[in-house]
Subunit: 330 residues, 2 copies
């Protein structure tokens, strides 16, 4: 098992990424040969040595990267040796099994989708984000890969999210909810109504709890929340911004920050627990928050390893096939 | 000035509503003749007396109401004397200038829209919710009146939200942002792109700051956040649910709840500060949270009075006309 690391992706790259890699190597969680660093060779080596790393992982050299404000597809075309493109190339070529990037999210999604292709039977990938709520950890998807999905896409998100929740969040039979603005089956636009029927019919390896409302996410009404990428992206960012606002005002008024808030934000670092996985591509792609510091790197690497070891992608392909049969039979 | 109060709307109605009315009367904020209670006459009188109210407001008697789980339009047809219908009738007939209801939101929106009609030049009403963020109080609309607005509807929400923010939240020239999943003008679906141009062209009495993302809401990037009713409803409820989750876990782990969180939730009562106003109808309609307790009633009444005294509706009509001219000239 080997994970490619985009050394040049993220607001604090390359230093924070490399320091995070050093921490992952030092604390014994990862061996050098389990990583493939993609970035400037000499500089990376120097930072790792400085951080006390004896055995430096293999490095695929490049100085190019896609900046956070660049248009993903244009930048990827202009920079064939952008670090994210080489990470994806390493996974495609079999030199790595998964990748971690804290860089431009759009570029990671575009490069991975085009470069790796989709799992058998799947129409669209989705960004899955896990957070903690009243019933333990849950997953919300799609957090932004596809703002306007068709009903079938939403139904396939349910299957992918359920596999993720079973394999990584220890929910043996995940409860899947469709995020909506009312509980009745006929709520929302046409796409949601159709998706409702498909998710209900396909229920393979999950329990469909129907429509759920926004206030039920952190209340733990389901383990998997399915929504379009526009709504999911807004929800994720609102929670992030609200949490940051609470921390800032707590600091001002001298009150303590609750454990839940601290856990959500990590060490002022949303991505530590809010790490996002691009589900549906052939490979495991972890999308970290651009603002991440070094402490976000080891958990990101552990998430990719857990995905690979659990075989989430294999389970998704199996469940999509079973769900499609169930849907046809319904 | 007189405000109709739906005594039978809300999970804790009628007692909590009446106790709240009593508090509003006792603390001197409101005189009896400024209110019109709509509900069971004798029972209401008894609760108010018991709560120490000497001069009981006029009461429009009814025992009928729309339950929180009823289908709004069906229920309104079957119950012509439902309390919310009589509240709306009182505003339409001039016996009241505004109304407050903590009942079925859909019924309040439907009854008000059909019964009162829309302000001149306006196409669709919107639910506006105010909350507090890093730059003071802001307003988000639409929080659920219309899940699939057209671009013109969104543009008109900007005008209404700006009038609300100027007159009630003391933002002399409110910054208006369009909630989106990226900052660039070409982000989002077709409706958002068109709305972007219209809000920019019409900018009358506000400053358009362009697209804003979810994390920028509580960060104070704008004073008015415009979005469709689906997204707005989900956002509002996610924030509510997340805040409640934080309070619950803070209680568990023994940590203090920050001042900001306390202010947001009121005394465990989201509606105290999250009170929603249905903007765009002829009259002032305040939609309180169904779970509200008595303490939510006085602030709700004060919000309606502030709206009426400021003449928000007059300003909306004026700005819609000016904005339409600017849009035509653009």
């Amino acid at each position: 098992m080997r994970i490619a690391v985009d050394v040049l992706g993220g607001d604090h790259a390359p230093r924070a990424i490399l320091e995070g890699v050093a921490a992952a190597l030092r604390d014994g969680g990862f061996r050098a040969e389990e990583l493939l660093l993609v970035g400037p060779e000499e500089a990376s080596r120097a930072v790792l040595r400085e951080a006390g790393v004896d055995e430096v992982p293999p490095i695929l050299h490049t100085d190019e990267f896609v900046g956070s404000d660049e248009k993903p597809v244009v930048a990827l075309r202009q920079k064939p040796r952008a670090s994210i493109a080489l990470c994806v190339g390493a996974v495609r070529g079999g030199e790595a099994d998964g990748l971690v990037s804290f860089g431009n999210t759009g570029a990671t999604v575009a490069a991975s989708t085009m470069g790796l292709g989709l799992l058998e039977g799947l129409r669209r990938p989705a960004i899955a984000v896990s957070m903690e709520g009243a019933a333990g950890r849950f997953v919300l998807l799609d957090a932004g890969a596809n703002p306007t999905p068709k009903p079938l896409h939403l139904a396939q998100y349910a299957v992918m999210g359920a596999a993720h929740a079973r394999d990584l969040l220890a929910h043996a039979r995940p409860r899947v909810g469709l995020l909506n603005i009312g509980g009745e089956a006929n709520k929302g636009g046409q796409a949601l109504k159709e998706a409702y029927g498909m998710i209900e019919a396909a229920a393979e390896g999950y329990e469909f709890v129907g429509n759920v409302e926004g206030n039920e996410i952190f209340a733990g009404r389901a383990d998997v929340f399915v929504c379009d990428g526009f709504v999911g992206n807004v929800v994720l960012k609102v929670v992030e911004g609200f949490a940051e606002y609470l921390v800032a005002t707590a600091a001002e008024d001298g009150s303590e920050v609750s454990g839940a808030l601290r856990r959500l934000l990590g060490a002022a670092d949303f991505s530590e627990v809010g790490a996002a996985v691009l589900l549906g591509v052939r490979g495991v792609v972890l999308i970290g928050h651009g603002r991440s510091q070094a402490n976000a790197v080891p958990p990101a690497l552990r998430t990719v390893r857990a995905h690979l070891e659990a075989g989430v992608n294999r389970h998704i392909v199996r469940d999509l096939a079973l769900g499609a049969e169930a849907g046809e039979g319904a």
